[in-house]
């Protein structure tokens, strides 16, 4: 059984002009020891999806799903008190901007031990020992001294390491990392990604990595879900999605990024014409059809997943037509 099983997740947000369908019919599963990357551009619903799993959506948003289960626990029916016990202990989150997600008025030591003291029956001394152990584990030298420091005394890379250590304090089963390296320099990014991969393996955690960076996804993920306009348009193993991208949007995205050795310097990069559709009101058919080169009348009808290979699903009714052109 998958550690996290999400089926037909829907997030609706009532707004002035009607209902904004931020996320519609999103299904995925994550096993222990596996990394799922959810990739998409801003507004695709990738961050809301992760917040929905943690039950941290803004109050106005409405969450619905056919199934939302973590280690067999039905999160849809779980009372807030129980949810709070899971959050931070068995499910943890790492956010993008370590400067805004760390409290500037508390020491690193205070913030690191808070979750452990609150979730587990441990003394201050044991919590402190665990904090030191984890800071050393994430590669921070002089851990004891760091515990007394405040976030502003650390560099961006160090702060992100502290965030990772904080997420690991209670030995979570699932870790959700929302753009964990976007704010960091490239050399530091590589180090943080390596660290996350090592820790995941060592602790046999499941990881959901949310990012817009296709390079990061390809190098780190086992499975990939590509989101567009609130829906998953393609999902499968990282190898399948990158070696045989089958949704026109996935292919478009991959053509947009310059790849050393593949794109000729100075040559125009691929571009996806048009704009993301408005998600307010009733949606039908494929949300990408107004930007798609393969669009046909049937794209306005009901959508379904097609499988070009086992375990690789593409939300497109024009796969055959695409093949004919290619």
């Amino acid at each position: 059984m998958a550690l996290l099983d999400v089926q037909d997740l829907v997030i609706d947000i009532p707004v002035g002009g009607g209902v904004l369908h931020a996320v519609s019919e999103v299904s995925f599963a994550v096993e222990r020891g596996e990394t799922l990357a959810i990739v998409g551009e801003s507004g695709s619903g990738k961050s809301l999806t992760s917040l929905a799993v943690m039950d941290l959506l803004p109050r106005v948003a409405r969450r619905g799903a056919a199934r939302l289960a973590f280690d067999g626990i039905d999160l849809l029916k779980l009372p807030e008190r129980q949810m709070r016990k899971l959050r931070g202990s068995r499910m943890a989150m790492i956010f993008q901007e370590p400067m805004t997600s760390l409290n500037p008025a508390y020491t690193i030591g205070n913030q690191l031990t808070e979750a452990l003291l609150c979730h587990e029956n441990v003394g201050a001394e044991a919590a402190r020992a665990r904090a030191i152990e984890l800071l050393e584990r994430v590669g921070i030298a002089g851990a004891e001294r760091r515990l007394l420091q405040y976030p502003h005394q650390l560099s961006g890379g160090l702060r992100q390491r502290v965030m990772i250590a904080m997420a690991l304090m209670c030995k979570p089963d699932l870790i959700i990392a929302d753009e964990p390296t976007t704010a960091l320099d490239v050399t530091i990014q590589a180090q943080i990604l390596r660290l996350l991969a090592e820790l995941k393996k060592e602790l046999n955690m499941a990881m959901i990595l949310i990012t817009h960076d296709l390079g990061v996804v390809a190098r780190v993920a086992d499975k990939v879900a590509v989101m567009y306009a609130g829906a998953i348009v393609e999902r499968g193993s990282a190898r399948a999605v990158f070696k045989a991208p089958s949704h026109p949007y996935t292919r478009g995205l991959l053509n947009c990024i310059p790849v050393p050795g593949r794109t000729a310097p100075g040559a125009p990069l691929g571009a996806i014409r048009g704009q993301v559709p408005n998600l307010i009101g009733r949606l039908q058919g494929c949300a990408f059809r107004n930007r798609c080169d393969f669009a046909a009348p049937e794209c306005a009808g009901a959508m379904r997943f097609e499988s070009p290979s086992p375990g690789h699903d593409v939300r497109c009714v024009r796969l055959e037509a695409q093949k004919a052109v290619a």
Binding site: G157, P260, I272
Partner: protein, 322 residues
Amino acid sequence: MSDIVLELKDVSRRFAVSQGAFKGSATLTAVANVSLQVKRGEVFALVGESGSGKSTLAKMLLGLLPPSSGDILIDGTPVAASDRIAVARRIQPIFQDPYSSLNPRKSIAQLIGLPLTVHHVGDAASRRAKVVEMLDLVGLPRRMLDAYPGQLSGGQRQRVAIARALVMRPEVVICDEPTSALDVSVQAQILNLLLDLKRELGLTYFFISHNLAVVEHLADRVAVMYLGRIVEERTRAGLFAQPGHPYTRALLESVLTPDPDLGVPDTAIGAAMANPMTEHAGCPFQPRCPRALDICLATPPPVSVLPDGWATCHLLQQEAVA
């Protein structure tokens, strides 16, 4: 007109940094002895990590910050000797974040037209015509003239910022991370637009970025900056084929291409950005360098001349001797 449109001669910028209430201030050298020549019509890229001094350098080029020592020349004329308006006519910036670089209370027509007003170009009607021309050039519909930045997407705002930078037809455009706040698909559109405009208007770009894939795509020459110093300056082809400086090599290895067969590279350089306040007797990169020698600790690395540029590293010297 000479071939060199922008020249930096031994430019340094130092800041006095307070050490606390009762201590004296210390000196932080943000840019140290930088000499560069940018040729007309080329894309000159400056890469480096945050804190390396890229943005301080950009501010000095724009005349927003005077250098502590050294000269900056545009077309042979020192920036220090000309007034702000004259500098602004020749050199214009495009900034990273189009959400904070556009005044939300001004309409698009006002934003793009402001440089024309400042420089007293033409009358109201001809200015309007010029603004419309710029909108067409950057691919924005004319109905946006009276819209406000809040009504535009990130990509459209960046197009407005580009139109505003180009309306006075500057010779040099300083692009400070122009696409790093944008989505992948929008980034491609903006990069394509920048390349088209360069061809059409014969512009020179001074392109500041930390994204090496983007730099490889559009730069002609590349300078790598570390702790305020240029450590390597090469042609695009040479630098990407055979980086000379260990720091450049680490940067190149950190580029994550979308290839599922490869893992995350181990760059083998320490995480800690060196403290810019400490003075280094030897090479500033030595504390993080995986191949550092004894000599790197004590002696500053000399310039090694390469066929297509130069780099400052003791290792290159040793290889040349061997």
